[in-house]
């Protein structure tokens, strides 16, 4: 790791100020992505501004079916929230299968979304849940937030403060883990609203990051059942081929994970 300066912010305002004063600063949340990257000398921020002690960024609020999760809420807190489980258990299940217990006790939803790893789990949920990403300066629809591999709509110094969404009638997440990293080789989050609106968020498989699959959404809107997926073709040409799997195999996994998610929802 290169030398860096550590700052702990007590408020959002202070964090923004600290970031403004830094030459090349980075926000630090759970550190589960940023710290290993720094240790490998692949990132060299001059300053780290730690967000975890900012009270406004913490906690889960459930009001009827609307949900607000503070950006600095850990995966473990999401996984074990009974209020959340009562209305949207799928997001708890997703969080409970991120990494290992140590990662879940440190890593946060804000960090995960800001990082937008193409194989991370939360981004698929954000798309399928039609979530709103709340920042210190605006609100961004998930569909506009995730812009590419490790790319988001966040501007210089912008802080995610929370995510908001309304719990759908039915939802489930199914992930086929990469055997090495256990990140998603393909992960599919399906959500269905009472009005029949269906969204399918896919992670791990896209060559330019998380995406919605219109074909699967149309099939499931017409017929919300695992069988409806059988006749949908998942085009492999937009999917990722890497060391671990070919695009053709990922296309198969997207279909199978979707089918299983619908069955589980």
């Amino acid at each position: 790791m290169y030398q860096t300066n550590y700052h702990r912010a007590a408020s959002i305002q202070e964090a923004v100020q600290m970031m403004g004063a830094a030459t090349e600063g980075k926000y630090l949340s759970g550190g589960m992505t940023l710290i290993p990257t720094m240790r490998l000398r692949l990132a060299a921020p001059s300053d780290l501004v730690d967000l975890r002690r900012i009270a406004e960024l913490k906690g889960i609020a459930v009001d009827g079916r609307s949900v607000r999760i503070g950006a600095a809420t850990t995966h473990e807190e999401v996984a074990t929230s009974s209020a959340l489980r009562a209305i949207c258990p799928s997001i708890c299940g997703l969080a409970g299968h991120i990494g290992d217990p140590a990662v879940r006790h440190m890593g946060t939803i804000g960090g995960s979304i800001a990082n937008n790893d193409p194989a991370a789990d939360y981004p698929a949920a954000m798309l399928a849940l039609d979530a709103v990403i709340v920042t210190d300066r605006r609100e961004i629809k998930a569909a506009a937030f995730f812009t590419g591999l490790f790319e988001t709509a966040l501007e210089e110094g912008e802080i995610i403060t929370a995510v908001r969404f309304d719990a759908p009638a039915k939802a489930a997440y199914q992930k086929f883990p990469n055997p090495a990293s256990r990140y998603a080789m393909a992960g599919v989050f399906v959500a269905r609203r009472d009005n029949g609106d269906v969204r399918v968020g896919v992670t791990g498989a896209g060559s330019s990051g998380v995406f919605r699959h219109p074909g699967l959404e149309a099939a499931l809107s017409a017929n919300w059942s695992p069988d409806a997926v059988a006749n949908v073709t998942v085009d492999a040409s937009d999917l990722l081929t890497d060391l671990h799997a070919s695009a053709a195999y990922r296309a198969n996994l997207v279909r199978v994970m979707t089918k299983r998610a619908v069955a589980a929802a």
């Binding site: 198969n252 996994l253 199978v256």
Partner: protein
Amino acid sequence: MGVDGIGARVARKEDRRFLTGKGRYTDDMSVPGMKYAVFVRSPHAHATIAGIDATAARAMPGVIDVLDGRQLLADGIGNLICGWMIHSKDGSPMKMGAWRPLADKTVRYVGDAVAIVVADSVAEARDAAEAVVVDYDPLPAVTDPVQALADGQPQLHPEASNNLVFDWELGDGAAVDRALAAAAHVTELKIFNNRLSPNPMEPRATLGIYDAGDEHYTCYTTSQNPHLARLVMSAFYNVAPENKLRVIAPDVGGGFGSKIYIYPEEIVCLWASKRTGVPVKWTSDRTEAFLTDAHGRDHVSTVKMAFDAGNRITALKVDTIANLGAYMSLFSSCVPTYLYATLLSGQYDIPAIHANVRTVYTNTVPVDAYRGAGRPEATYLLERTMETAARELGLSPAELRRTNFIRSFPHQTPVIMNYDAGDYEASLNAAMAAADWNGFAARKAEAEGRGMKRGIGMSCYIEACGLAPSAAVGSLGAGVGLWESAEVKVNMVGTIEVMTGSHSHGQGHETTFAQLVADRLGLPIDSINIVHGDTDKVQMGMGTYGSRSGAVGMSAVAKALDKVEAKAKKIAAHLMEADESDIVIEDGVLKVAGTDKSVPWFQMALAAYTAHNLPPGLEPGLKESAFYDPANFTFPAGCYICEVEVDPETGRTKVVQFVAADDFGNIINPMIVEGQVHGGIAQGIGQALLEGVRYDDSGQLLTASYLDYAMPRADDLPSFVVSTSNTPCPNNPLGVKGCGEAGAIGSPPALINAITDAIGNNQLTMPATAEKVWAAAQAAN
């Protein structure tokens, strides 16, 4: 058998310190004035070095010095060597290319060391290492061993045209060809044995200390064989004379073979300590471990197995290409030859065998022994072939094996080995019973109902341990003898220290070796200490690899104990005015048989050292040493049965049952043996399902972290069902055979046989990733 003696499930003595964080590993060592090293490594798989400029690096904060390969060469430090001479079938010696500890002209794999930076802290050393400017002229690289042999490929070493290190054969090729021509059936197969990264929990580390006052060197290192490290560094690398070099391998956190070899870092840190005048410590990080620890396996083979009309094997023909990487590592030449082709008879009576092995340089990290070393390659090839043949011949896999088992001993195979004892059918029967083989059809039908494809596969392995009779291996090219040494020191009040040349890095020697002494003398295990891993404390040794510590290391202890017992009896007989032939040792007491006269052990020991009343002419003291040179290899064998369920929609394989029935000869500590088998099977399942080193065409290592290299985890594994049915080894005093590698040797073919059975397609390579299994299952439909 006492509570602590041979055969008892004694809890491991060493676990207190390991489990409470009190282990002392090389990186825990700290000496006054110690500084830290970071190596500058090649980012290219193949390049010439046009120049190295360390001016800026030397001026950086905390930097003591930056040293490179030209200085190392000027100081007369030698090349790394391979210690086992193999001759090609045309009689020419293997083509050993120069491996400089710091490359001075050419780098040949990503990670090849070119310079060392010594600084006040690791961070400063790392900063400075980035500032060392190495001017590389990149050359084309080759990583695939088959491709490397072809014409027109990049050439790694001038000695080795077409990158061929040697072209070696074993067995009677003409007899094999005749049998193939006359065969009723021939099974042919192409076999890939995947390349593995060893991944011990503790990464390599070394601390080099030069004492200018005594012109003496101390090397702390993560070694499985400190005496061998001293020998090689003094005799071949010209680091220091043997009497001026102390090598200490303290607690070592796993080796699996990768810590047998002497690597550039030990040599360079010792040399750098002399050059800089400060002790120099280097600790590998995990990325460096992936890049530089010797890899294992990486074979491409074709096999032909001939059968007569009665389904008896009449011949086996094997052609293997083995990737040795960029340089010949210490034992790299014997792994794909004498540890491989000599085991190709397996458990079967095969009249004619011929193996041809070509070894090849590629722009990859050197390949050497990894848990099993050669024997997993032989077993995988043979047991995949047997399974395939059974399917082709329409026989049950058990029946084909039974038809061909060796049933009388000793048995001379056509490939050097003389099997001394075994009962292969007993292991097969035990495994089939434990696996409920006959109930498989019902389980398969039940799984079918859940949409899962269930398969079953077996593997009957044999391996050779107890490396090795020195004269025999010497005649085959080994540069060293493979005896072991022990010293048993009885202290003045009777407690005991055993100095052994074996090295424990996870095997539990501190417990099992103490059990042997406790068993022989009837003393409590806590009064016995096992001392290992320090060339200043332990007289001599050859170290631990090839499952040799029990069969060879403990046999040396047993021999030393014979001498201790004989002298103790003399002293006791004298004290009790009895005849020494009437003395028996029981429960820590020396008794005159048939009388009530006795002397406690501690009193006899005290008498040995007070020397007030010893038999005339007997030397004071009670300390005896012995060297043990084995009479033969030992031949552990067994049968493994694996049951899997494959999810046909994703290709994901779940190992639902794994049965191991082993013959390890006599067992010292069943708990430790089971632990060794569990660990071995986990590694074997890792190889078969998950692990695989991958380089891209330019020679960059793609699997350089745990994000990309899949290690087996607890939830990848079932609970293992293990048992032993043992035939004692007739060739060593303890009747033991060795159990350290069996699990890794026997398991991969059982798994692949099970998966191919489940999906109905025999075309599958390791690691059997979900995608490969899915694709193979699709192709079968």
